[in-house]
Symmetry: C2
Subunit: 492 residues, 2 copies
């Protein structure tokens, strides 16, 4: 309507100034007139138990692949959904490496939870709480939380409790440092968007500083030496993106320093150890060809400007990215629940924590109990996503059968247990090249692909997996503009 | 070529593991073999004077509208160009307010200098230095600089000097606080991309925290009270974007807290005082209609959680944005150069600093000397852009006439002086509404527009002004996606 309501006038600015504005400007701040009244009687301490005539409440801890896929599948007519997480979005992790060098924008790989499950922001009993989980009382069906107030100078974190009817622990794992001194202080992980932002800012800063008069040759070499520790898919993909960025963009836009920049990938064993031998060989050839130096070595110590390998050799670096896999988080370690091999939360075939009522766990933080006879599944997006989908269906079924409330699901038939079928592994190794290993396991036979065909499969597969159409569109636009205009190099 | 080089093989993974990888992995770190050799004899202390047979060097301090437009227009065949600035990109300031609420992405409003003037990253004698200017020696034709190393933990800032043949000071102004206590500590300005990022992060944090159990009603109201001080175009545009964000996105995605969020715009005099009275009245009506409270008041003191007006009333806030205009920066104040009224660097009609040789100044940091009889031009992108363009042509002319080197331009005819013709002022006041004042000055007669027509003119005008095609494309895509999918609300 207001699209067409437009106004075109010839100015008559020479007439005396009118005072029409004054009245409009003297609006009182009535909004705050309650400030002198006594404050509300007591602070809420959280969300209490639901009543039998209310919708049961599913509390989801975490907003990664597992938690978000679960929330997407949960039926908001059956449940109120409460998500507790220190971030309000899901990170589309397989594309995170591409954002570090400007191939993709940061926002294209972040999907707000409210877009994944709209009821979380609109249903009266559903909430997203920006908080960390700090404890669990399975007897009284309560989760203990503490708000995340980084960036709010005027507020201290506070604690609160949430009662659950069903609890899903999907809080993920944390990056492993293997107890190596200095990793946390000096290396950057690649798990969150802010990590990618930090890598990008540091990379561009080092490129710029190495061009300023007064820097020594040796410092220049150090600043522009990018070291990646860990030869899994993340490390390999990041090295590939980085060397591609160097060959396409640095050579064109930082011509003064282009001969100083180097990428080294350090791995203690074999790179891409889960992949087919031929694919691995192909990856090594491609990475080497594009200028990535592959070094077999074990890191013993990390100093601010160099890392020290077990054979005593020193590797000066300007940027250090650490991607040597994940392990259980302190929150998971603190829980008094049974554990799977490797210290994850132990679950049964229906993804339940079998010793307590109404608690489930999915994603990187959980693993099958030894008693199930099943192996602990790898910490992959694929596993988490499949578990989230399965559990959403299971909880919907339980809700429909009347078992949604706390302690009401004992007699419900849970149906088929969760079965994981590996769909194959993928990794890019630079521009237009990727590996796709479609075997079910390392020992099985199956198809492996390398090169442009698999790059195309890889990009298509990821584009259709990005959750919203908005982000699918953005990723496609990002790829297109990078292809046409090159990567973006502004440091903001 | 490598597009088509793809490889599809049937895996033969059951054969014994090959050792082909080992040799490839044992690459030595020969890159650093020089580390034990003695370091280079002496640190470079900067760029020395150019020789008569070399290209003369133009040193540009700053990378705003003025400096970037100048660099874009300078002929790299005539000059080596050296830019000294604490940021490697230009900020497209008129669209900055839109990025705070997710209408536009941050990257869409940042244009890398290397894209504006490609020779800066490729010509052997042209450079971009990430540094602040700290001093000036006009006798010896030298600028003193210090690197910006924020984010590089392993490097301390260091000083260096650059000799210039021509110097252009385009280092801009800084936000005025009028000496009010607490502004710098607690308010956010809106001049750089990192300001917009900070506003966005704080706004989303406050929205999320106000929904967490345990927060009092009063704190909730405070957290969600956004206060803008300063009723110029920036303050008005930001208020308009914010209230539009609240009406379109907060009401849909933060339904639990939507009734708590408020926007107040505080201005000591009249809002948009440079605009036609009717346009101003229209803006007031539109802002009020969209929920912005306009308050006439003078801020006396800013505390972490509230600001205090001169009449003693207290205004609690959760987000405080300060946009009360600009004043001279400490660097400009420190220079021993003649000043214009208002403390800017004094220039003549050819944008020269007349007391010294080969020094020019453009943009917000400069103003006509009183002796020229011309008024100091307003601190507008329009003025800076026009001055940059004029000076690029002037310097190219001087270069062609053989006056490029230091102290060689004394006998050159400078041609026509700089003339400023105001093309009109524009400001948006929320969705699909803008003001366009096409009068030459406040007293002149001319056309004023308000509403959708002017919104369309505004958007088109800005789209064609965004420097690169890449960013024009991105801005159009951002506007389209915001229109179709709504704004992005992930806090990354």
């Amino acid at each position: 309507m207001f699209w067409y309501r437009s106004l075109v006038k010839i100015s008559t600015a020479n007439k005396p100034k009118s005072t029409i504005t004054t009245n409009l400007l003297l609006t009182s701040l009535s909004h705050f007139s309650t400030a002198n009244q006594p404050p509300p009687v007591a602070r809420l301490s959280g969300l209490g138990p639901t009543k039998p005539d209310e919708k049961p409440r599913v509390v989801v801890l975490g907003s990664g692949w597992a938690g978000c896929r679960l929330m997407k599948g949960l039926d908001p007519k059956l449940y109120d959904i409460v998500c507790v997480s220190p971030r309000n979005h899901m990170v589309f992790t397989p594309l995170l490496a591409s954002t570090c060098v400007g191939t993709l924008e940061f926002r294209s790989v972040a999907e707000p939870i409210a877009r994944i499950q709209p009821s979380i922001s609109s249903a009266p009993g559903s909430y997203f709480f920006l908080a960390n989980s700090t404890g669990l009382d399975t007897e009284s069906h309560e989760v203990h939380c503490e708000t995340v107030t980084d960036g709010a100078d005027t507020l201290d974190p506070w604690k609160f409790k949430i009662s659950y009817d069903k609890l899903v622990i999907a809080s993920g794992a944390q990056a492993s440092t293997f107890g190596i001194h200095g990793v946390k202080e000096h290396a950057i992980f690649l798990r969150e968007v802010h990590h990618a932002q930090e890598i990008r800012r540091k990379l561009l800063l080092n490129l710029m500083l190495s061009d300023v008069p007064g820097i020594s040759e040796e410092e220049k070499r150090r600043l522009l030496h990018c070291v990646v520790v860990g030869g899994g898919p993340t490390g390999v993909e990041f090295s590939g993106e980085l060397s591609d960025f160097i060959r396409r963009d640095v050579h064109q836009r930082y011509t003064h320093v282009k001969d100083y920049i180097r990428v080294t990938l350090i791995e203690a064993n074999e790179i891409l150890s889960s992949f087919d031998d031929r694919l691995r060989h192909y990856a090594i050839k491609q990475l080497t060809k594009s200028g990535v130096r592959l070094v077999r070595g074990v890191v013993n110590d990390v100093k601010p400007e160099k890392l020290i390998l077990s054979d005593g050799s020193e590797v000066p670096y300007g940027l250090l990215v650490w991607s040597t896999g994940v392990g259980p988080s302190p929150f998971v370690n603190s829980l008094g629940l049974p554990k799977s091999p490797g210290g994850r939360i132990g679950i049964d075939e229906w993804l339940r924590v079998p010793t307590v009522q109404d608690v489930f766990s999915i994603g990187d933080c959980s693993g099958f109990l030894e008693s199930t006879g099943k192996p602990v599944l790898p910490a992959l997006a694929q596993v988490a996503e499949r578990q989230g989908k399965y559990l959403a269906n299971l909880l919907n079924k339980i809700g429909k059968d009347g078992g949604g409330h706390a302690d009401c699901a004992k007699d419900i038939d849970f149906g088929d247990p969760f079965e994981y079928k590996h769909l194959g592994s993928m990794a890019t190794v630079g521009r237009f090249k990727a590996l796709v290993d479609l075997r079910q396991s390392k020992e099985a036979k199956g198809i492996s692909l390398a090169g442009f065909v698999s790059w195309f499969i890889w990009r298509s597969a990821y584009l259709t997996r990005v959750v919203s159409w908005r982000n699918r569109f953005y990723v496609a636009v990002n790829w297109l503009t990078t292809f046409v205009f090159g990567r973006d190099i502004s440091r903001i």
